[in-house]
């Protein structure tokens, strides 16, 4: 009896310990968001004081940010870069990933090694010739095309992640389709694609977020033309000309973060699966 009670007591203590640690960790992760929101609702003067709670709730900050010249253009550019870029990435990466996962051919291993190697490379490695090519040869700097066009030729990370996913689809399904007389294109479209939806969703989300978050690309190609800026790049210039309007900067920050977080709640599963696929399954 006493033994059981002691056992239950340690179980309760364990529960309390684990959950207090979890709450402490949750505070570390959540408090920055809370301060961010609170500051975005302060007046300009109060944001420069040490007070943490808004004295008056300045909801107008958000309207002011929204109506800042350029903000809607940056929004449109971001949607174009992220939306069109995502579609192009998926369409061009799926066949490559399919071949790497399901075809047997000489050089398959080498091709995969190259995909992984390019995936790991910093964009700075080839940026100088690429910039000179787009800007001097094609006169397309100040536009988003140098960022979008390459995505029509497959993205290494997308190919790798999709290939990892396609490996989990048993070959028997493909063989059955081939026995029924399907060519490879039909097999891919009719059999593989419907089964690969979660993998495609994960790749699409990652690509969308990559473009949404990209700072280096727009800085290289679009910095001298504010009409081609994206939200991530424009956000940084959001500070006032002579001093930092922290309340407006934080309101703009919230507006740039919000779509990402909303999208996450709709597609949580695809996201977490994608991350797991890159790191755990070989």
């Amino acid at each position: 009896m006493a033994d059981m009670r002691a056992h239950r007591r340690t179980a309760v203590l364990h529960w309390v310990g684990v959950h207090s640690l979890a709450v402490a960790a949750a505070l570390f992760f959540v408090l920055p968001f809370v301060f961010l929101l609170l500051t975005s609702l302060m007046s300009d003067q109060q944001a420069l004081t040490r007070e943490l709670w808004p004295r008056t709730w300045e909801w107008g900050n958000y309207a002011q940010v929204w109506h800042t010249p350029g903000f809607l253009t940056w929004w449109r550019n971001t949607l174009l870069y992220a939306g069109l870029g995502t579609v192009l990435t998926v369409v061009s990466s799926v066949p490559v990933a399919y071949a790497l996962a399901k075809f047997r051919f000489r050089g398959r291993r080498l091709a995969l090694l190259l995909v992984i190697a390019t995936m790991m490379l910093p964009p700075q490695v080839v940026v100088i010739p690429m910039y000179l090519f787009w800007a001097k040869q094609l006169d397309l700097s100040g536009t988003l095309w140098p960022l979008i066009v390459p995505l029509a030729f497959g993205d290494a990370f997308a190919i790798f992640l999709l290939r990892q996913f396609l490996l989990t689809i048993p070959d028997e399904y493909l063989d059955a389709a081939r026995v029924d007389g399907c060519g490879e294109v039909r097999t891919l479209l009719r059999v593989v694609l419907p089964m690969a939806k979660p993998g495609i969703a994960a790749v699409a989300l990652f690509q969308f977020f990559y473009a949404w978050n990209d700072y280096f690309g727009p800085q290289i190609y679009a910095s001298d033309n504010p009409a081609a800026w994206t939200l991530s790049y424009g956000l940084e210039s959001f500070k006032g000309a002579h001093h930092t309007n922290w309340n407006l900067t934080m309101a703009a920050t919230v507006l740039v973060m919000a779509p990402v977080i909303v999208l996450f709640f709709f597609a949580q599963k695809a996201f977490v699966e994608g991350v797991t696929l890159t790191g755990v399954k070989g």
Partner: protein
């Protein structure tokens, strides 16, 4: 595109193999074209430009190893960038891995509200880097930031964070640790894959919590730990957006207008290798020397990637 063992002997077989090879090429073609145009060609150009004096207007002029000796001996930002990168590789990566593993362990033990905790821990990973960095520069603002206000209230020292050369890298590390949700997810998946029987057997043998972690958990998840370390090192070498935005925003607080002459404020302490490529190429228009730096970055990244792939045959697809 067939293996030597099944070399076709009859014309019909040979035709079928040729069709298979063409089909493979067709499926791979987007990437084959893309990597030739957007990777192989520019990489070769980078190598070529690194041996030339080139400002983007006048044609490149061959100047031998001048750029290379300039970057390694006379370019004042190179060694600070290398030192900062080394610091980030050692401190930032270990903090992220230890913290990510700790949070992963914690989440697998939470009984009540596990889904909520997991979501809360993951969210910062999604915050756009520019937005997250601006938020942290504000939060850690030495005069009026909420963090220092709280530290003050708790009677703790309140450092200058992004405006103090001794604290700017710890501040960047805090930002990176905040966004550790990706590591939490992969550690969590690995932890849940550890066979339960091993824990039960160890418990019967009277192994304590630490012994179980040390002798069962760690060996089982070590491939994932290594993956996290190596990809972390690669990320640290590529670290660009956060240090760039942080130094500009922090200089803006002090300087007022956000103007800044030299990257890496305060005192070159947030300067990383990718920033030097940008600085020499796009601010000084010395494309030749910038290409030297790009190649240094290339060599370092390839070394890490090779490490990752050599050890982890599975990632390279040897297992299937």
């Amino acid at each position: 595109m067939t293996t030597a063992a099944d070399t076709p002997r009859t014309p019909a077989l040979r035709a079928r193999h040729r069709r298979a090879a063409l089909r493979t090429l067709a499926f791979l073609s987007p990437w084959l074209i893309g990597s030739a145009v957007f990777f192989a060609y520019p990489l070769l150009s980078t190598v070529y430009f690194s041996f030339t004096r080139y400002d983007g207007f006048r044609p490149p002029v061959f100047n031998g190893l001048d750029n290379w000796s300039y970057v390694f001996t006379d370019y004042p930002l190179f060694w600070p960038a290398m030192r900062n990168t080394l610091w980030l590789v050692v401190v930032m990566v270990s903090c992220r891995v230890v913290f990510g593993l700790g949070v992963g362990l914690l989440v697998t033990r939470v009984k009540t509200g596990a889904g909520l905790f997991r979501t809360l821990f993951y969210l910062p990973y999604l915050a756009p880097p520019v937005a997250a960095t601006l938020a942290f520069v504000f939060l850690l603002n030495p005069g009026t930031g909420p963090v220092n206000t709280l530290l003050d209230a708790a009677g703790l020292p309140a450092p200058g964070w992004f405006t103090d050369a001794g604290w700017s890298k710890p501040a960047l590390t805090a930002l990176a640790v905040w966004g550790t949700g990706d590591l939490m997810v992969i550690f969590m998946a690995a932890l849940l894959d550890v066979p339960k029987e091993q824990y039960e057997a160890a418990e019967l043998d009277g192994a304590g919590a630490w012994a179980r972690f040390r002798h069962i958990t760690l060996p089982n998840i070590s491939p994932v730990v290594l993956f996290a370390v190596v990809t972390g090192v690669i990320q640290a070498m590529q670290y660009y957006t956060q240090p760039t935005v942080a130094s500009k925003a922090a200089a803006g607080i002090i300087g007022g207008s956000g103007q800044q002459t030299e990257p890496g404020y305060p005192g070159r302490s947030t300067l990383t290798l990718p920033q030097t490529v940008y600085h020499l190429g796009f601010q000084r228009f010395d494309y030749g020397s910038a290409c030297v730096l790009a190649l240094v970055l290339f060599a370092l990244s390839m070394a890490c990637t090779a490490l990752l792939m050599r050890r982890r045959g599975g990632l390279a697809g040897a297992g299937d």
